[in-house]
Amino acid sequence: MCDLFKRELLFKVLVIGDFGVGKTSIIKRYAEGTFSTKYKITIGADFALKQIDWDSETRINIQLWDIAGHERFGYLTSVYYRYAVAAAIVFDLTRPDTFVAVSKWLNDLRDKVSLPHGKPLPVIILANKGDVAANKVPVQIEEFCKKNQIVSWYITSAKENRNIDSAMNRLILEALENQRNNNLYNSDSLMLAEEANSGTHNSSRLCCSR
């Protein structure tokens, strides 16, 4: 049954949030390990790839979609959101307005995309520019996350490479869980029983391997 995980997975992950909060920087940091203050503005959506060997049996290809923050591009988001399995919503700690906009982005996301069986996408919140303003975390954030089924939130800094990998790993873990459950759901009944057993077995191994 090891074969179950001896394969490549493809996850489409969205990175959304208001303009100028650092979405492109976070993606470049995560996918390429670099930082620059010189990114052009994003028009429409940009695309990046990251491959990670999650464990000895799983390789994950992550498609990162960097979605433009200006509301002009709003109608396009439904096209860009399609087939996504997870999302990170970014705001800028130095601009309180951008945290207010998080709920707008979350609603847009929930309205337009969900997992194959109607489950909502796992979402994390990234409080970016933590190198400049780590002490400016909005007090409501914890409550907001609880109320809106946000997986977790992180203070990040693309510039100082803080917390980005761990945040993304957390999100990927959620996506993996969903993928596994979904696979079980899709199999026919005979397989279902069989895989359910191995499924629990595998999932425990998966956690240990991290």
């Binding site: 503005i41 028009i43 002009r72």
Partner: protein, 389 residues
């Protein structure tokens, strides 16, 4: 010699009493020489800022430049600067709820300005031009003790707190830690102004004068190449007024492509959706194999063509190539029809790679266009245009 001859052709056309635009377009379609400010002059004609009649040029320029100066006088104002003595209950103040309050407008404008400010500081980061000082700053602004500088209106100032330690004998130590994000696009000192600050002012005035549309991200990328061309005009008499001239040329250009920037017009004939489906149809006609491959991959033009079309390709290539491509775009008799052929050509010249590529590698390729293939694009676009059914 061929180059000389070409220069001469341009000069001949431009020296006529009435410039024949049809001839000019035909010639400029194949590229305008970089010399002698020819591009700046031709763009002014092609964008309808200068009329074909040579003798009226100077009066048009004088009028427009004066008009632009009046925009600056009227619209880049700091509330409170023109208060007169009188009944102080009528005075305007920051908390006024009077809808005519200058302060109300001021705060609303600052929301737009914040976005413009963020965007102009991200303009053409691969060249240093926009970070350099202009030779022709707007004097009433750069000598206003920073009061009228637009970016100072949206500068983020935070209250600072400090740890105060007391060490016996009344010695107080204040530990003030200041952290500030480092800025590449530094504002200049009093009396000077960087090019990006000039662009910021043009965009702000445009947004104020076109309230229906306002400012939309991407406009900075449209204005960039025009301003760059005008502000580097070797003819000082023109260069000095790059700001005003650029404003009007940008306004004219936007009037033609504004529909790309308005969300509610996305699905109309001139909207961006229509342009993207035209691109898809043209691709099917020009190269069915690639079109089919893209269909199978679900590689939609929204993923790459949206930016290509909205920004007239200004983000896809290095600036000199953008200028060259815009010569052609502006010379298009049926503006911006030829843009579709250029976009299509961009795909077709990459056929070998694209046909073998999967979704991610193809999308990466199209979003990061390989510079080596640029020279092939325009000839291919002409070829596709001539083949059209």
């Amino acid at each position: 010699m061929a180059y000389r001859a070409r220069l001469k052709e341009f000069e001949d056309i431009l020296q006529e009493d009435i410039v024949q635009l049809i001839k000019l377009k035909k010639l400029a379609f194949n590229g305008i020489p970089d010399d002698q400010g020819l591009r700046a002059l031709c763009w002014k004609l092609l964008l309808g800022y200068l009329p074909p009649e040579r003798e009226s040029w100077q009066s048009v320029l004088n009028r427009k430049r004066a008009l632009y100066q009046s925009f600056i006088d009227d619209l880049v104002v700091m509330p409170g600067s023109e208060e007169t003595n009188g009944d102080c209950t009528l005075l305007d103040h920051p908390l006024s709820i009077n809808p005519d309050s200058q302060w109300q407008t001021y705060f609303k404008d600052n929301e737009v300005l914040l976005q413009i400010d963020k965007d102009v500081r991200r303009l053409c980061p691969d060249i240093s031009f926009f970070q350099q000082p202009t030779d022709y700053p707007c004097n009433q602004i750069v000598n206003s003790n920073d009061v009228k500088r637009l970016h100072t209106r949206v500068q983020r100032s935070v209250l600072k707190c400090a740890n105060v330690e007391r060490k016996g004998l009344g010695i107080t130590k204040i530990a003030l830690v200041l952290k500030k994000a480092q800025e590449d696009y530094q504002p200049m000192t009093e009396g000077q102004e960087a090019h990006w600050e000039v662009v910021e002012r043009i965009l702000f005035l445009y947004a104020k004068l076109n309230p229906g549309q306002g400012y939309v991200q991407g406009m900075n990328e449209i204005i960039g190449p025009i301003y760059y061309t005008f502000a580097r005009d070797p003819d000082v008499a023109y260069r000095e007024y790059a700001e005003a001239d650029c404003f009007f040329c940008f306004t004219n250009l936007m009037s033609e492509i504004r529909d790309f920037f308005i969300k509610t017009l996305d699905s109309t004939d001139c909207g961006i959706n229509n342009m993207m489906s035209r691109l898809s149809n043209q691709l099917r006609e020009s190269d069915f194999d690639i079109w089919l491959h893209f269909q199978q991959l679900e590689l939609r033009p929204e993923y790459y063509g949206f930016r290509w079309i909205t920004l007239l390709l200004s983000q896809e290539f290095p600036l000199p190539d953008v200028l060259r491509i815009w010569d052609t775009l502006f010379s298009d008799e049926n503006r911006f029809n030829f843009l579709i052929y250029i976009c299509c050509a961009m795909i077709v010249v990459l056929k070998e790679k694209l046909i073998k590529g999967d979704f991610p590698s193809n999308l990466k390729l199209l979003q990061n266009y390989p510079p080596t293939e640029i020279p092939k694009i325009l000839p291919k676009a002409v070829e596709l245009f001539l083949q059209r059914s």
